[in-house]
Assembly symmetry: C2
Homo-oligomer: 236 residues x 2
């Protein structure tokens, strides 16, 4: 059965990397001694090695060794043999391009669907949705497709931000962007605020964390769901 966390962000403001998720991650990865880290999203452009090292620092403290997927000559095999997988945040376009070009998206989907524990943060959570079309990231590379793992039957908008009532900026709000998406697409979208996450246990999908999440369905007014809510969005 699936055993997954898809978190809006890796870190809360002013806190250490993954600190707010520590006990959840310990539960998710109970019994795991080594995990494969997918560093392809490269936040701020850091190298795969640097990123893996940063992540290893966190997991060392909870007794889990980390190996970077980029270090394997046969990454598909490495994923198939992994005890657990963590995909970190950064640029979703870059992450999705790498996974598709190396034919790893489907492998990862299979492995996670078969029950290997999976943690995603930010871009690593976006790829748990049906496709990456609700990312906030800049299209710094051109992926061969926008499709992702579809561990959940909807899309995520990580780092969801409410409109700022005092803003004098004319760029679109997050809500407007998702509304534009729904003029052309039928896939539900969940706006996950920083500090919230999706928990998947088998077929049960719930929202968790500090804040309510915002549900966007085509042709409907968006609405809030509280932490602990089962995600069963019905289309109109």
């Amino acid at each position: 059965m699936k055993n997954v966390i898809l978190a809006s962000t890796s870190s809360l403001f002013g806190e250490a990397y993954l600190a707010y998720l520590k006990s959840e991650v310990e539960t998710l990865f109970q019994g795991v001694s080594e995990l494969i880290f997918v560093p392809y999203a490269r936040p701020g452009g850091i190298s795969h090695d640097e990123y893996t090292e940063k992540v290893a620092g966190f997991f060392e403290a909870i007794g889990i060794r980390v190996k970077g997927l980029h270090d394997f000559e046969a990454p598909a095999e490495a994923l198939r043999n992994a005890e657990a997988v963590f995909t970190g945040g950064g640029n979703t376009f870059l992450l999705v391009k790498q996974l598709h070009e190396q034919d790893l998206m489907d492998v990862l989907k299979q492995v996670v669907s078969q029950g290997r524990p999976y943690l995603g943060t930010s871009a690593g959570s976006n790829i748990g949705g049906v496709n990456m079309q609700n990312t906030n990231d800049m299209p710094i590379v051109y992926p061969p497709a926008f499709s992702t793992m579809g561990l959940i039957p909807f899309n995520l908008n990580a780092h969801y931000l409410d409109p700022d009532p005092n803003s004098k900026h004319n760029g679109e709000t997050r809500e407007t962007r998702i509304k534009e998406f729904h003029v052309l697409n039928q896939i539900p979208v969940l706006g996950l605020r920083e500090g919230s996450w999706i928990r998947i246990k088998g077929d049960l999908i719930t929202t968790e964390g500090q804040f309510s999440s915002r549900v966007f369905l085509p042709g409907q007014q968006p609405y809030e769901i509280e932490p602990g809510t089962v995600c069963e969005f019905s289309l109109i």
Copy 2:
């Protein structure tokens, strides 16, 4: 010779559509009695007809008729015969997808390069760059390519926003996103604040408007250029 305005935004906060650009637009379109409007970016998902009507309202007041490109059975021919062209803002992915799928991107480039006056705002300005890879928009559709007209030898980041020093949000700043772009790309990027625009007259490219603009070159610290500066960015 080229005669182009690429504006960061169509409107300033609290002002009417295109109001801040009115005298510039009158100069750009001097002698023009009818222009073709490209409504494909559909801001907020409004229809091509609604968008064209909104734009026609502005141009009527300065004596210019507006025809929507979507109303032509032969849009390439319509562009070739146009006195002038205006591409409005909205979603850049949607705009670029439509232009490529209808083989109109190259036609538009030719027409504008041959001297037909062109106005772009926001998404309509992004397509004046080398490619659309510095848009802020959400990838609500998958375009067959990210390449755009290349009227200028660099990319634009429209609606450029400075980092908010008081933000407790962990999503990437605009500057971080552009830095990530430059880890993988060599194309210079100009951050155009709302109220600023690019003016092209023949081979002369300048920034204009209320604010300084921010220049991003790969491997270099970003820097500001004042309105009136000639844009000749050199790569390292």
